[in-house]
């Protein structure tokens, strides 16, 4: 049987199910799990269920009470997802809240992002601020911070944390008005690490460069350690 499209606008209530293209706008509500090829929701949409789609685009102030699984996920605005996000390419922009874990090849975040669970990806790029009690594990991680951020653990191969500058950093900073971008994290472990404005109990790695504005408890390094004169490291241990 040919799958149908689901097109809604206004304030409608629909049940989930299997569709081809889903396009919902306004203040509608989808009351159960939905499986489709393309999902496009905008406005103040509530989805009470899991979403599985080839591509999924969410904008506005949507709320998804469930997990989202899709190759290509783009979420912008002030949306929130209570469950996990699984994809190949995930872009979150704005004031997004994710309750569970995020798993993706490429993860691009901008704005002020809150994540309840862990993040696992091959490439992680952030401009703005992030708050997560979970562990970030990624091959390559580049954080450009424009707001106060907090993570539990940041681990992987290549890790770089910088204070955000340039146009995007400036705009986000003036919007958020939270002073300079900084990171508080319990543990950083990686092969190559560069940190700026970071407060951390323990940093372990092969090549470590501590840039300006850092307060570090202990650094354990193997090949290289450089510390900016403006930063403080309590203990240095060569492995």
């Amino acid at each position: 049987m040919e799958k149908r499209d689901l097109k809604l606008s206004g304030a409608t209530v629909a049940t989930g199910g299997e569709y081809r293209d889903v396009r919902v706008s306004g203040a509608s509500k989808i009351t159960s799990d939905i499986i489709c090829e393309t999902m496009n929701i905008s406005g103040a949409i509530t989805v009470d269920g899991n979403v599985e789609a080839q591509s999924c685009k969410v904008s506005g102030a949507c709320k998804i009470n469930g997990n989202v699984k899709s190759d290509d996920i783009k979420i912008s605005g002030g949306s929130s997802i209570t469950g996990t996000l699984t994809g190949k390419e995930i872009t979150l922009a704005g004031g997004i809240k994710v309750g569970g874990d995020i798993k993706s090849n490429l993860l691009k975040l901008s704005g002020e992002i809150t994540v309840g669970g862990d993040m696992e990806c091959e490439e992680f790029r952030l401009t703005g601020g992030i708050n997560s009690r979970g562990v970030v594990n990624c091959e390559k991680c580049e954080l450009e911070l424009a707001a106060k951020s907090e993570l539990n653990e940041l681990v992987g191969a290549y890790i770089s944390v910088r204070e955000g500058n340039g146009v995007t950093g400036g705009i986000i900073k003036s919007l958020l008005g939270k002073g300079k971008g900084s990171l508080k994290v319990n543990l950083v472990e990686g092969d190559e690490i560069y940190l700026e404005n970071t407060t951390c109990e323990m940093v372990r790695g092969e090549k470590i460069t501590i840039g300006p504005g850092c307060r570090i408890g202990t650094v354990e390094y193997a090949e290289l350690l450089e510390i900016h004169s403006d930063s403080r490291v309590e203990n240095k241990i060569e492995r």
Partner: protein, 206 residues
């Protein structure tokens, strides 16, 4: 209690980097529950079950050339590879299963030419357990039914099998590996790890 190794010592002993360790964790080559957080006088430290992690890292390092990480991940995961099928001759020629066990199953699945991974796994476990001489074929078919009904929901929890017998009645338990506190009978099958059976079979097949 199994011997543990700290993350720091592991990296030194195996000469791998943090990047490699976390890459393998992401690819599920190293199970999440092997990363055990414990507090020490220097703060939190991660420990691993020494024997298991050393063996796994050796396997990964030895196979790395040629095989991609995703291929390796398939090999180590507890998932059943869905597409795999093998003919009876392949199984016998590559000495994956013995003739006895295949002919026993042939009687049950009459006329079946190709076996999928699940069939092969059940034959493999049967061969292992029946070979010990303590279980009857009837016991075995009950165990396999229990396993196939529940495998999906327990596969990631490191399941093990123990079997007890009293007055000729056998009782089978599927439980988390190494986690029976005490029993007043000596099991005839003791803590048989399903995960390691799946892994061993995958090593032979893939």
């Amino acid at each position: 209690m199994e011997e543990l190794i700290s993350k720091k010592d592991l990296l030194i002993e195996t000469n791998i980097s943090y990047g490699q360790l976390y890459r393998w964790k992401r690819k599920k080559l190293i199970p999440e529950d092997w990363f055990m957080k414990k507090s020490t006088y220097t703060g939190h430290e991660t420990f691993f079950p020494r024997e298991k992690i050393m063996e796994r890292i050796e396997q990964i390092l030895n196979m790395k050339d040629g095989a991609s990480l995703d291929d390796l991940a398939d090999k180590f995961s507890s998932d059943i590879p869905e597409e795999m099928v093998r003919r009876k001759e392949d199984l016998l020629n590559h000495q994956i299963l013995s003739k006895e066990i295949v002919s026993l199953y042939e009687e049950i699945f009459k006329g079946k030419e190709e076996y999928n991974f699940q069939d092969i796994l059940y034959m493999y476990i049967s061969e292992d357990l029946l070979g010990k001489g303590q279980l009857s074929i009837e016991d075995m078919s009950r165990i396999l039914r229990m396993l196939s009904d529940n495998y999906e929901s327990i596969k990631d929890k490191d399941p093990s099998l123990s079997v007890y017998r009293k007055f000729g009645v056998s009782i089978s338990l599927l439980h988390k590996s190494d986690e029976i506190f005490y029993s007043d009978q000596t099991p005839i099958v003791n803590n048989y790890s399903i995960r390691s059976a799946v892994e061993k079979l995958k090593m032979k097949l893939i």
